[in-house]
């Protein structure tokens, strides 16, 4: 038996994760030491901790050799993964900003709330670097398990309990399917590393590989709430505390996509004939059905949930064109989607503080008494629609470009779907804007809505990101494009 060799750790590359783990511990211990006095500062500590973990990401991004590989290629820190980590952390920071008032004013367990939030973010950052099945699965569980419980965090609210329960049961079911698929892929290739699996399944196909690929894709489809595995999403989004909903809709969904990016980009891309039809069907269904149901919603949060399903469809589509910059398009889309969606949630929360409801009708005449919020929400809605130069337009452009450049049959069909669905989506997004600008305000609504500083700050961050990245997307594109494209494959479509 050869002696055990300790692995070499690149502590700099792992620093963001270490900072986050430290924040988790500090948040936990503060509660013990300070008792109720801790309540006042846990939110700030969580926010500062998240910002603190951005520091090593920046130093890594500007260091001489930004691509670092550990554990024989199982853990990779490169520019794309740094971008994604930054995305998760900034999203979580915005969620913390959204939470400070909401959680502080409600009947919640505060320090535990932030502990779970930060540990979920830790799972996401690990996911961004994970390049083998076990790391991916474990990271996925770390990011989902706290999310299941956060969805049920208003313990006295039946709808929140239902949200948590549905999310949990569906999520666990999806994990089981995913794990089975992973075990098939591992059984066939004899390795947990994605690159090895890609090599093995690329050489020779077998029914087990086909099943494995389908199961893995189905498992992740649950996580990103793609149709027909979306049933949990609207109920969970509506029932969960709103900041948690924002977290689920943005960070959690993005993490699901990141997992898909790793698995498809590193391994399944070499088994195109199985992967493309599955993904294409999921994408087309998600876009269309998500949009059609969103059309009928009267509640903004439910509408955002269904529109999120449709947006997931837009983001799934470029996987079909993985070899033609499709993956980069997804990363770009993810970042822009996160900025826009978080902004939208922040504004809806600010409004709901006053109106106590998220019905679209209660937004009537918002412009007349609270013009700032109305303008901000309009910007986010316009970005959702894809109106240049606001955020998502560039994402949609990248998606279309990838689809059209690949020229495959499936890609072309999907491109048509994207175009059609963008038109459908414009209707319900702009409908909300119309209500705000042109409808009459409800009785007695004339004083402007007071927005707490933290919410104001959150809206500001999202607004700046949405507009700036839409106007000048150059740096985003650079970061999203990996230096070395993953294993160039024969174009077997």
């Amino acid at each position: 038996m050869p002696d055990f060799v300790a692995p070499t750790l690149d502590l700099h590359a792992l620093a963001p994760e270490f900072v986050l783990a430290g924040v988790v511990c500090v948040l936990l211990l503060l509660d013990v030491v300070l008792l109720d006095r801790a309540k006042a500062i846990v939110g700030s500590i969580a926010g500062l901790g998240l910002l603190g973990s951005l520091v090593p990401i920046l130093t890594l991004a500007t260091s001489d050799h930004p691509t670092r590989t550990m554990f024989g290629g199982s853990y990779v820190v490169d520019s794309t993964s740094l971008l994604l980590k930054a995305l998760f952390i900034v999203s979580a920071y915005v969620v913390v900003l959204l939470s400070t008032n909401y959680i502080g004013e409600g009947d919640y367990w505060e320090s535990e709330y932030y502990t779970l939030l930060v540990s979920s973010v830790l799972g996401m950052t690990v996911m961004a670097s994970a390049r083998d099945l076990i790391s991916i699965f474990v990271a996925l569980e770390l990011l989902s398990i706290p999310a299941y419980m956060l969805a049920a965090w208003s313990k006295r609210d039946g709808r929140s309990n239902e949200a948590g329960m549905k999310y949990y049961l569906m999520g666990v079911f999806a994990s089981a399917i995913l794990l089975y698929g992973m075990s098939l892929l591992y059984g066939w290739s004899g390795s947990t590393q994605l690159s090895e699996i890609g090599r093995a399944i690329g050489e020779k196909n077998s029914p087990a590989v086909t099943l494995g690929v389908v199961f893995v894709l189905v498992g992740f489809a649950f996580k990103v709430s793609a149709v027909p595995f979306h049933m949990w999403a609207p109920d969970t989004y509506e029932g969960a505390p709103t900041p948690v909903t924002a977290f689920l809709a943005v960070a959690s969904k993005a993490a699901g996509f990141v997992a898909l990016i790793q698995v498809i980009g590193q391994a399944l891309v070499l088994r195109m004939n199985v992967m493309i039809p599955v993904v294409a069907v999921l994408a087309a269904l998600s876009m269309t059905i998500g949009n059609l149901i969103a059309l009928r919603q009267t509640n903004v949060i439910r509408m955002l949930a269904y529109s999120g399903i449709a947006q997931a469809g837009f983001m799934l589509a470029p996987f079909v064109a993985s070899q033609y910059g499709g993956i980069d398009a997804i990363v770009i889309y993810l970042v822009l989607y996160a900025a826009t969606n978080l902004g939208a949630f922040a504004v809806v929360m600010a409004i709901a503080r006053r109106t106590r409801s998220a019905e679209i009708s209660s937004f009537g005449g918002l412009f007349s008494y609270s013009p700032g919020l109305a303008v901000a929400l309009s910007v986010f809605l316009a970005s959702f629609v894809g109106i240049p130069p606001l955020g998502i337009w560039y994402g949609k452009l990248s998606v279309m470009r990838a689809l059209i450049e690949s020229q495959g049959r499936w890609a072309t069909v999907l491109a048509i779907f994207v175009a059609l669905n963008t038109a459908i989506a414009a209707y319900y997004y702009l409908n909300v804007a119309k209500t705000m600008w042109f409808d009459d305000a409800p009785e007695g609504e004339s004083t402007p809505i007071k927005v707490p500083t933290s919410l104001r700050f959150a809206v500001g961050i999202a607004l700046v990101a949405t507009i700036a990245l839409g106007v000048y997307p150059g740096p985003l594109t650079d970061a999203a494009t990996p230096e070395a494209t993953p294993a160039a494959a024969p174009s077997g479509r």
């Binding site: 211990l29 013990v32 030491v33 008792l35």
Partner: protein, 397 residues
Amino acid sequence: MFAIDPLLESVDGSAVLIVLLKVVVAFAALMIAVMAMVWFERKVVARMQNRLGPNVAGPFGILQTLADGVKLFFKEDLLPREADRPVFRLAPYLSLVPAFLVFVVVPLGGDFSNDRHGVVSWFGKETLVQVADPHIGILFVLAMSSMAVYGVMLAGWSSGSKYPLLGSVRAAAQMISYEAALGLSLLAVLLNSGSLSTNEIVSGQSGWNWNLWATGVVPFIVFFIAATAELNRPPFDLVEAEQELVGGFHTEYSSLRFALFFLAEFMNTITMSAVIVTLFLGGPNGPSFGPGWLQAILPTVWFLAKLLVFLFVFVWLRGTLPRLRYDQLMDLGWKLLIPLALGWFLLLAAFKIGQDEGWNRAVVGVVGTVVILLGALLISMAVGTARARRAAVEVEA
């Protein structure tokens, strides 16, 4: 190495016979030991309480257990009307079988000095004086002790009566809680031995190099307390607190089925003592002298002597200590034993790493102690917080 037992390197007819012989002997020895243990316990407790104890059946009443067994055997076998029949019938066996199985991995003899790994020569074949020595020996002990929960739990549930149910819920909670402490204190031994095999663990303790002091006594104490709780023996016998629960989980059992529970309980006491001897007191290790035949049986004699010490201590505890309250039981397990075992394990691990890396032992010791004290401080703060909150809630109510 595939088979640790040299007997199994080449299997033929005589090897199979030797294995069978070992199984039969181990089984018979355990049964006889249980009988003796019942007598021993009754006699010693009686002495401690200024009574005579069994003194009618046979010399010194030594056949009393046999007489009791015969009596139980001929009693009517009652099945309560509300009982869940299949489970009610199954439960005693679920108690008994794990108790038996733990015994198979305990080395009962053999010379462990000078790297001889307890190999003895029987009928021209080299073998070990234990029924089996799997790589994962000590985990097998843990697995079986976690199986034992089923017998107790299902017996209480299937009786269809409330006292047994309460007794079994208590028992299950207690056994689960203390299993954590048991496992954590075991880790210290594993760290020291670097192996899960019981044979290797005993080999590592040859020449008075017992784990008892090699791991610094604390794991031994934690293990012993946790083992007592795991066995549901006094002072942790809340499971069968007569004043509260009639007879505990086996209230509804009678006749042979009750005898099986009774047997399992004493068997568990013996096997657990044997495990403690194996883990901490060097098993059959001891001074060797005299002629060849004496040298051959001396290890077994040492083993039995150490075993007897623990059996006596268990009886002694029963004769001396009052039963704990339930909250005291849980506090002891969760707030003292588990953190203590974990902290000690970390300290030992730090020393071990320090040894590999050539750090100064004193520095490691000081830093480790400070960290552990800090941890203890945090735990006591957490406990204080919880207590304060509970008090506040009670004031409100």
